[in-house]
Symmetry: C2
Subunit: 318 residues, 2 copies
C-alpha cells in the first residue's frame, strides 16, 4: 500500500517533532508547519535532512491563505497551539487567536483541499475543575477556568461541527501534561531553570498540594499512531494519561533527588499556582485502553528522562 502524505502543524514543538519523526519512521511523507514561536529548529534538525519531510516556517494565524500548504495531504495532525496555560490572562487574545481561530483556519484549509481526517491535541484542562476522578470523556458539561481550556473547548466544538457538516473523521485527544525529551515549558522547566540560577532557592506556585497526572511523550505519540486508521465513529474523543497522579511536592522531591539538591522551598499564592490552575487533574483512560493502548513509562521515569534531557540541553534555558 502506498504510504500516505500527512501534515503536522506545530511540527517543531515538543509533541509535533516527536510525532513527525514517528510518522516518518512508519513510512509516511510528512509536511511540517511551525512558526517557531515556541517550537525549535533544533528539534527538527535531523528531520530536515530527511527527504520524506518538508518544512514550512509559517504562522498559521497571520498567513492569509493556507490552501497551498495543505494541498496533497490526506491526514492533518493539528498540534500547533499556544500551550501557555498559566499566562492566558496576561494576554487574553493569544489563546483565541493561536488556538480557536487557527483551528478554524486549519479546518477551512482542509475542507477546501478535501482533506477529511484530523487528529487533534486537546487538553484535560477542558474539564475545568471536575468533581469526579478519574474524569471520563463524557463527564458533565464543564465550566471553563482558563482561556487555554476555553480555546481548546472552542476547537473541539469546531472540529465536531465540521465532522457533522462536512463528513470529517476526527480524533480528539485530551492530554494530561506530557513529559520527556524536548519538554520545554511547564513546572519542571521552571524549577530546573530556577535551580540553575540558584541551587539553594526554589519558588513554587501554589501550596505544592495540587495533584497532577503526567504522561510520557512516547506513550502520547503511540496513542496517536494507534488511532490513525481505526476510528469507529466519525468523532472519537480519548483521554490520555497514566493511571496515577502525584502532588507538585512529590514531583519536586523526585527532581531534587535526581539533581542531588536541597534548596529552601518558598510557596507562593495559596492553594492554586495561578488563576485557572486546576487543583487536580486525573483522567479516566479506559476508553483508549480498550483499543489496546497503555502507557509504558511511569511518572517518575518521565521526570527522570526530562531532567536528563535538561542536563544535556542547557541551551534551552538561555
Amino acid at each position: 500500500m502506498k504510504k500516505k502524505k500527512v501534515l503536522v502543524t506545530g511540527c517543531a514543538g515538543f509533541i509535533g517533532s516527536h510525532l513527525s519523526e514517528k510518522l516518518i519512521a512508519k513510512g509516511y511523507f510528512v509536511t511540517g508547519i511551525d512558526n517557531l514561536s515556541t517550537g525549535k529548529l533544533n528539534f527538527i534538525k535531523k528531520l530536515k535532512l530527511n527527504k520524506k519531510f518538508k518544512f514550512f516556517k509559517i504562522d498559521l494565524f497571520k498567513q492569509k491563505n493556507l490552501y497551498k500548504y495543505f494541498k496533497g495531504n490526506q491526514i492533518v495532525f493539528h498540534m500547533a497551539a499556544n500551550a501557555d496555560v498559566k499566562n492566558g490572562f496576561l494576554n487574553p487574545k493569544k489563546d483565541i487567536e493561536q488556538n480557536t481561530i487557527v483551528t478554524h483556519k486549519v479546518l477551512e484549509a482542509m475542507r477546501k483541499n478535501r482533506i477529511k481526517r484530523i487528529i487533534f491535541a486537546s487538553t484535560g484542562s477542558i474539564y475545568g475543575e471536575p468533581k469526579i476522578f478519574p474524569t471520563k470523556e463524557n463527564y458533565s458539561f464543564p465550566i471553563q477556568t482558563s482561556l487555554y481550556g476555553s480555546s481548546k473547548l472552542a476547537c473541539e466544538g469546531l472540529i465536531q461541527a465540521y465532522s457533522y457538516g462536512f463528513g470529517f473523521d476526527s480524533t480528539i485527544f485530551r492530554f494530561v501534561s506530557i513529559m520527556g525529551k524536548r519538554y520545554s515549558h511547564g513546572h519542571l522547566f521552571d524549577f530546573y531553570k530556577q535551580l540553575l540560577i540558584n541551587k539553594n532557592h526554589l519558588n513554587v506556585l501554589g501550596n505544592g498540594l495540587q495533584k497532577k497526572s503526567y504522561l510520557n511523550i512516547e506513550d502520547c505519540i503511540n496513542a496517536m499512531i494507534l488511532t490513525i486508521n481505526r476510528n469507529k465513529n466519525p468523532i472519537e474523543i480519548y483521554n490520555l494519561g497514566t493511571d496515577r497522579f502525584i502532588t507538585v511536592n512529590h514531583s519536586i522531591k523526585t527532581i531534587l533527588k535526581i539533581l542531588n539538591l536541597s534548596p529552601k522551598i518558598y510557596y507562593k499564592g495559596g492553594d492554586r499556582g495561578w488563576i485557572g490552575d486546576s487543583p487536580k487533574i486525573y483522567l479516566d483512560t479506559k476508553k483508549i485502553r480498550k483499543i489496546g493502548w497503555k502507557p509504558k513509562k511511569t511518572i517518575e521515569e518521565s521526570i527522570k528522562e526530562t531532567i536528563e534531557f535538561f542536563n544535556h540541553n542547557k541551551w534551552l534555558f538561555k
Copy 2:
C-alpha cells in the same frame, strides 16, 4: 437608588429590541448597538424617540475599537449573534466571526472599561443531540452538531474564563426557540412566507416529526430581568423553555388552522430538516423556576401571537 446604565448588543433584533424596551420601562438607561444585518430599525422606532435610549449602528466584528461604545455602562446584555443555525455550513466563517470573535471583543471592551456584569444569550443547540430529556444544564459533555452551537459553546467558555480570571459576574441563558411579536426568522417565518406566495403548497424541511420546545419572547425577557441582580454564583447557567415540546407537524397544523388554509405538504430531506438540525430539543428548566420564574404563555399562544404579528407586518416578507 440611581438606575444603572446598561448596554444591549443586538438591540434591534427580535430579543434585543424587546429587552431594551423592558429595561427602559424598568428605569435603566440603555445604550443599544446593532449592525442592522438582521436587526431592523423598525423594531426600535419608538425606542429611538426615548431619551433613555442611545443607539449606535456599528458592526461589532468589523469595528476595531469598541472601548468608547461600552464606556460608562455597568451591565452588558450580549444578544448580538448570527442566529441562522440552518445555513451555518454554507458560510462556515459567519458563526465564528459574528459569535465567537465578537463575544471575545465584547469581553475585552468590558474588561478595559471595568464592566464586570454580563448576561448572555446562548442556546439549547449547545447540547447537540442529547439522549436525556428534559435536558439539564449539567448534562454530559456535549458533542456539537452545528457551527452555531459550536460558536455558542466557544462564547460560553470565554465568558466562564473571564469570570474566573477577571472577576466577571455572568449569567448564561440557554434558550429553546423563541416566538412572538417581531419573530423574523425560523420555521414559522419560512412557512408563512411560502404560504404568502402559494397558499396551496408548503415545503417542510425534515419529516415533520422533529420535536421542539418553544418559549414566548415576554417569558424570555422576564427571565433575564429577574436575574439582573441575583446571581448566587459568579457563573450561573439557566435553561429557558416551556415544559412542553411539539412536533413540527403539530406546529404546521396550528398555523394552518389559524390561517384557515389547507395546502399540500411536501416533506424534504429525511428525518432532519438540515445537517445539524436536532431531532429533539426539550430543556429542563427547574433551575430557573426555583428562583421564581415560570413561563406565562403556552406554545400555541405563542404561535398565534407570531402569526398575528406576521398578518400585521407583511413588509417583513418583502
